[in-house]
Symmetry: C2
Subunit: 343 residues, 2 copies
């Protein structure tokens, strides 16, 4: 199914690529809105309805280092909500300071994406959240340890019962992931660009409008479209020109399909001015360079410095506005039964 | 000067120790208040006045991993404000996963203490805050790196100017520490016990009142007194009976005075039910055991399980109430000039 999706998008893309010069010059909100769409208040999931109780529990768990073996690493360690949901490192540091192979994407607006991880190996944030807890390079925990830690803390017992009122034994590894996912489903950030699409023409500066036009006309929207301005398809990184430094085989590692070599999820560009360094291995620090690279390797275009500058200016309008407001939880204390940290 | 303080307190202590049974039975707010005193709104310091601009900057810096060499570790990594200002580990994990020798005390109410660190090697939170940034086992940075990183970020330039309006070149290592300290000076937590002292007799349960009485009559207040219920003096850990497992020489490492062997700052007991594990090396996980140990090694008393239970119940009334409410900052992005993470 996902294979078909890629094939399908590849066809759409190729045809768009040859006709990108045909993209409209008109950047009035009414023309632009259909390309991107409207940010919802929450990214709901019928299979895991977003309730206040679940979101509240999820917020606690997102900051909960006891989900990790060492009791030192929480989701927030690598997706700092004080730092636009990223760690700002080329590749992340996990259990025992192990340095991973990939750059941590932001959790902001992540729930809106059609798939999770650079290689799409988790279908949604519910499935995704189980990954890092068990990853020996990240939180290095086990399902049993997570459940044992949580069950030993009466306040969590109560919070899980409230969040999963139908379950008789609600503290499970899967429910922990569901609660975290529900919290992530609320981490959506409006921006000045959304205000613009809503009709407020003054929300973008003249340069940002020029950038939007360039972004559309250059063909970036072939891949970076939809509410997340990305996050809606897989694409080969190096579609037109090979990316010389790219080692990671991307989606191929998941499907073993040779056509998936160097294929990655197109990332969302929301908050992208805050989430350096760029690309799946965090190799590029400058957004200008990232944009220039994209133009060349994905579209076969040598963008001028002027064009790059305008696009980067437009990308700045995708930053959270109003700024994210997260109140820290107050984590409940361990008890005599809580398994100790294993650093 | 501090030497005299210890001697002075030792004398006071010994005389109190022999007469502790003379402590009042009366635990009415009016009798109790003079022992502990009233929590101020902020722990002001004339040498570093607490202004909203400085506190705001300090909040940013407290969550700022770029103060560390790796750009991975912030103050909040070890003093998680989601977790009552501690990391919950026996001893802390720092740069490159180095495991330090001591338990991280909470930053909550720390500014009120007469000195900082277990061994009092920093006189106040301003001096203290410089320690971890430069400590090779903690944040492993240098003054130059901290200043270079901050100066490379325009938003910090602006925030430092607002926080230190008299300085022409406000981004200095010392000012960074001052801003963090100003933020810490606002991290004071009221509790039900404060409400009780304010005259609300219903703020403590009957068992907690019994515990307060026991805490006073047993002689705990000889050392754990003042607004912070501790944090006001140095004392030998093992004053009456030797602590068998204690290796750390404490204040002796600072003064090299043999009389300071095994001498530590008496810690504040505010939020103590949330800051396990206990003692300077985090060896003891159970608060009951910590209290029992205190009775024996500091006062030569074998407290009954019943007495311990009451005291622990009273200590629970010292937890933050209303709970701490911290809103995360939104850290500004790095620029091309920002020195890269060095993990
Ligand atoms: Ca990134
Ligand atoms: Ca502790």
């Amino acid at each position: 199914m996902q294979k078909y999706k890629i094939v399908f998008f590849s066809i759409v893309c190729s045809s768009l690529l040859t006709t990108y010069s045909g993209f409209s010059q008109d950047i009035s909100p009414d023309k632009v809105k259909p390309i991107f769409g409207i940010l919802p208040k929450v990214a709901d999931n019928p299979a895991n309805p977003v309730t206040p109780e679940k979101v509240n529990l999820g917020r606690y768990l997102f900051f909960e280092p006891r989900l990790s073996k060492s009791a030192k690493i929480s989701c927030n360690s690598c997706h700092s909500l004080a730092n636009s949901g990223v760690d700002g490192l080329p590749t992340s540091i996990g259990h025992k300071w192990q340095i991973g192979p990939r750059n941590a994407p932001t959790v902001l607006n992540a729930a809106l994406q059609f798939t999770q991880f650079w290689d799409g190996r988790a279908k949604d944030v519910e499935e995704q959240a189980m990954g890092p807890m068990l990853n020996p390079k990240e939180m290095a925990s086990t399902k049993e340890l997570v459940v044992q830690r949580l069950k030993s803390i009466p306040q969590y017992e109560e919070m899980f019962h409230k969040a999963f009122p139908e379950d008789t034994d609600p503290i499970t590894f899967e429910n922990a992931a569901k609660a975290i996912a529900a919290f992530e489903r609320t981490l959506l950030t409006l921006s000045r660009f959304d205000r613009y699409m809503d009709g407020d023409l003054s929300a973008l500066s003249p340069e940002e409008k020029e950038g939007l036009k360039t972004f559309i006309q250059t063909g970036c929207i072939t891949c970076h479209n939809g509410t997340d301005i990305g996050g809606g398809m897989f694409q080969k990184f190096g579609l037109v020109h090979k990316v010389e430094w790219l080692q990671d085989l991307g989606r191929f590692e998941v499907t073993k399909n040779p056509a998936d070599k160097y294929v990655f999820k197109v990332p969302s560009l929301r908050n992208v001015t805050k989430t350096a360094p760029y690309f799946n291995n965090g190799r590029v620090w400058s957004l200008e360079e990232a944009v220039k690279t994209m133009g060349y390797v994905q579209l076969g275009k040598n963008l001028s410095d002027e064009e790059v500058k305008k696009i980067v200016s437009f990308l700045g309008s995708l930053a959270a506005e109003p700024p994210l407001q997260i109140t820290l939880p107050n984590l409940p204390p361990s008890t005599a039964k809580t398994p100790k940290p294993m650093p």
